[in-house]
Amino acid sequence: MSKTKKLFIGILVLVMLSPLGILLPYFFKAGSAWGEWGPDELKEMIGYVPKGLERLSSFWNPIFPDYNLKNWSEKGLFYEILGYVITGLLGVTIVIGITYLIILVDRKTKNR
């Protein structure tokens, strides 16, 4: 097996294992990363939502918030795990695609 293929399979294995990244925090009752709370969480913590933060926080709607398919995180842990793996695969694909694209564009400008 070529080196590249071996490493690529390693990435796929990591994606399959990635739900550990939601299961471990779940079992150890850990919340968001520090400073990454949504406006609702922040309101519970300090009693108000800073005005500028409220305005800016809603200006972007990502397609797969929190590495999950829309509403899947509310359908229970199984769907959350499945959604995490699916969006993980998607993310890996996009990241690899963009990296290639940037280097290939790079090649063209070099050869010109």
């Binding site: 009752k29 850990a30 990363a33 520090w34 949504g38 990502p62 996009i94 990296t99 280097i103």
Partner: protein, 226 residues
């Protein structure tokens, strides 16, 4: 460490973009000169690794979570400028598609995790490794120390950017407009968890992957950018 939208005011996130634009340009032209045909697939796998390793949230029981970033590893393998581009790609995709880190905060997040972290980590690595080969003990120790300090520098920068907000932006009632926590809260909160746990995880991940690449012969005597 991914600052969301709303935590930084326009002065801060605007300045961070302004700082990043020339760095992105320099990194792009530097990568253009260095990349060899045969390393392109490995570089793509490198950015995929950074993406997937950030999905492994590590809990502090009853507290917050954090994760490794991988940008010091990328700088050791491909050089710090290429690491800047690869980590930026990952951070931008995370912000646009997964809402991990804000759109307005892309400049700041890239400065912390794609610029400061791999550069600090890389030069500490080079300092410790000296003239020893990449497979040497000094190289592995250097990778661990570089990763640990690199992640902590990124955490400190994040804490500073967040903690300055209540000083520079208040509403008419004197309440903070953006991140509500001052420096005396953000610095200890960010630094304790990164110094005690997440920095060690970053170091272990970096050393293990480098060791694996050297052991299996995937990585030869020199890294890909030398």
């Amino acid at each position: 460490m991914h600052i969301p939208d709303g935590y930084l005011g326009p002065q801060t996130y605007g300045s961070m973009f302004a700082v990043m634009v020339p760095l992105w340009a320099k990194a792009y032209s530097s990568m253009k000169k260095k990349v060899k045909e045969e390393t392109i697939p490995l570089i793509a796998i490198g950015s995929a690794f950074s993406f997937v390793i950030m999905m492994f949230n590590i809990p502090i029981p009853g507290g917050t979570t954090g994760h490794a970033v991988g940008s010091v590893l990328l700088s050791i393998l491909f050089g710090p400028w290429t690491a800047l581009i690869l980590t930026s790609i990952v951070l931008i995709i995370q912000a646009l598609i997964f809402g991990d880190g804000g759109i307005t905060a892309i400049g700041a997040n890239c400065f912390n995790m794609a610029f400061a972290m791999p550069f600090v980590g890389y030069y500490i690595y080079r300092l410790i490794r000296g003239k020893s080969p990449i497979s040497s003990k000094r190289s592995l120790i250097g990778a661990g120390v570089g990763a640990y300090i690199g992640l902590n520098v990124a955490a400190l920068l994040t804490a500073l950017e967040l903690g300055f907000q209540p000083i520079i932006a208040k509403d008419s009632q004197g309440l903070p407009l953006y991140c509500p926590y001052p420096l005396k809260v953000t610095i200890p909160a960010m630094m304790i968890e990164h110094l005690l746990l997440f920095g060690i995880i970053e170091a272990v991940v970096t050393v293990l992957v480098l060791y694996y690449l050297v052991k299996t012969g995937i990585l030869k005597e020199e890294s890909y950018h030398e």
